[in-house]
Amino acid sequence: MTKVLELHDITKRFGALTANDDVTLTLEEGEILALLGENGAGKTTLMNILFGHYAADEGSVRVFGKELPPGLPRAAIEVGVGMVHQHFTLAGNLSVLENVMLGSEPLTRARSARSEARKKLLQIAERFGLPVNPEAKVRSLSVGERQRVEILKALYRDARILILDEPTAVLARPEAMRLFETLRDMTKEGLSLIFISHKLHEVMAASDRVAVLRGGKMVAERNTPETTPEELAELMVGRKVERPVRHDHEIGAPVLVANNVRVEEGGEVRLDEVSFTVHAGEILGIVGVSGNGQASLGGLLSGLVHPIAGRLILLDEDIGHLGPRGMIRAGAGRVPEDRHAEGVVGELSLWENAVLERLRTPEFSRRGFVRQRAAREYTSGLIERFDIRGAAPDTRTRLLSGGNMQKLILGRVLTNGPRFVLANQPTRGLDEGAIASVHAELLAARAEGAAILLISEELEEAVALSDRIQAIVKGRLSEPISADEADPQRLGLMMAGVWKENDDAA
């Protein structure tokens, strides 16, 4: 095998922070290398150096034996390095073909060579098994399809080394598995791949070799068949991390009951005939492929959208018409799907975010004035009780890591003594250590008798935490099954819409 890519002794500093510390990495022709590490381990920085977005302070980058000039993305593209970013860089109002061509044609040419480009694109799509409609507007494509366009864009520029930054972050499990199959086929066509990830199971499933980064340093390299998820987890985190385990206990009375709820948004039915019951001391897991109504279910239980039919009862009170403030008063705690967009106001301090839901309660305001001292004391308590690291009450919230931000939101919800808790994708994008803390907090709330509804796209998480599980498919819920009956096959079928004999919902 020949080395197609060599990174030698790369060091990159941002002020006092050393993002990459003397990192050496090689990629062989036709292999899939996983670059594993927690958030902030320096994975993305390293790949940005390779691609020329950053210039390294020390070290060199060699592609196909030739040294790349630092800090020039165009040079990287020219020798055949392509990058697929975590956040797509596509123009929604343009077609697939236009997006692929964008930036690869000289501006000075009067007519664009559309038909040749179209031919080339279709050839590439055929060769690498990435079917696509060149005329479709990107806006109308699903997330998985958009990612395919991103990959095609790199291949169209004759990439022979492809770097994918957290390619599954936006994909549901089946889509992710399909992506990995495609990537495997692509290596047979001579491509060499690096994908960045912090998810152990996909590293195990999809890579030939794993390089583990921790705190900016390369701590280990393993051939994937010769390692285990447990070993990788320990290498990645630097210590043993175990997710907490759910223990059986007495389930209490019903707390939240949805009865044939129907929700419409933007003129479309998003939830239909949705019924479920969450009992005190119980976690009900809702699993499903993303985009099957989870967002509307989250909105419904947050008080942001309201049912047009059916009833939503929290402890004998009909809460279907209540807004967020009413829901909170009725005893609901809500953990939103997107921490940054809905959970916190990043530019405000921790203490302001901590009391944001309860600004108008006597605890935190008097005669229209905020009781700042009470709010700061409360926040200090949260920081200690929920182990929010590297922060004081006056720290700006956007400086928190994802895990610590989620702990702040959990703290704000759980210290209010909620009878019902909505946890919508509570660990999305978090690293192993943070996932374990979030799970522990949810289980602790369960032990104290809260009724918890967990919406998750991570099957392991749903199975580990939930007492019962229902699948959501096209806005409808399956019958619940108990966690003991939940095996991957059965859940897979449920998520595909097959949950009853003689069912035609698939």
Partner: protein, 348 residues
Amino acid sequence: MMRLERRSHVPLHLAIIAPLAAILTALLLAAGLIAAADVNPLTAYGEMVNGAFGSRLSIAEMLTRATPLVFTGLAAAVAFRARLWNIGGEGQFFVGALITAWIGHSLEVPGWIGVPILMFAGMAAGAALLAGPAFLRLRFGVDEVVTTLLLNFIVILFVGLMIEGPMRDPLAFGWPSSVPVDGDYRLPDLIPRTRLHIGLLVAIAAAGAVWLILARTVFGAETRAAGLNASAAAFAGISLPQTIMGVALLSGALAGLAGSVEVMGVTAGVTTTMSPGFGYAGIVVAMLAALHPAGVVAAAVFVATVFVGADAMSRATGVPSFIADVIVALCLLTMIVALLFTTYRVRR
């Protein structure tokens, strides 16, 4: 390749340097125009500073100009904090002025009751004028930049109509002006034998009040949250319509108060030329202040210096006093660039 990286926090010295650098750059750019008029820019700027600070009278005149700018600057700052783009400060200024002259001409109560009544009337008029665009945005999604901007022209034409017609001052010898407010309601002078009146103190008190509201009250916290991240605010149970409407009423009231105080303190009657663009300049003041109430006072003094100093410079050097408008407008542009550099850092 150059990249912009977000700073983890804006250090205090940068927050102070940014507007100063913006002003300096704007002055450098305007120096080109002054040089094009065959005048040494240093001489011209020297005359400008002299015109605003050279004597007791000129300082008083400068502060007189700064007074309405503090109000309109606060009006813009409050609205922009909540991402309500109130470009209608000019119109709100004029309705505040007009209602003050109208009521103040025929009111028959003692001055110490009448002055607060007239201020309140001006505030109510300004608030009402902005409530309309705010309602249209909340109910139908109508862009308030368009509605508030266009309302300015409607209001000024309406003022023209009133002072040529029903509110015409018969004693003004054909000079179009409204009837004046009664002498009991003229604001007392702050410095004798100048135009500077106690309105300046009202303006400074207003800046303090706005600071208190934004920094310490529940309404202020909700306003900041709604302006910085509307979805998170809504998720936390903050009513966006209530907050936006509250901000609109406060912002409109401040701009209306500017007009009211200007009538009672300086002009007595309303004319269509009584504002050299106080409402629009308020936007620049708010931006230079980075939307901070304390900064608004300082920025208002600067803009007033340019306005007053430019007249003196024009008399001494022959550079048209329109250069003041150019400088103020340039400041807005350079300040926007400066704000970019305070929130982001350039990396290679």
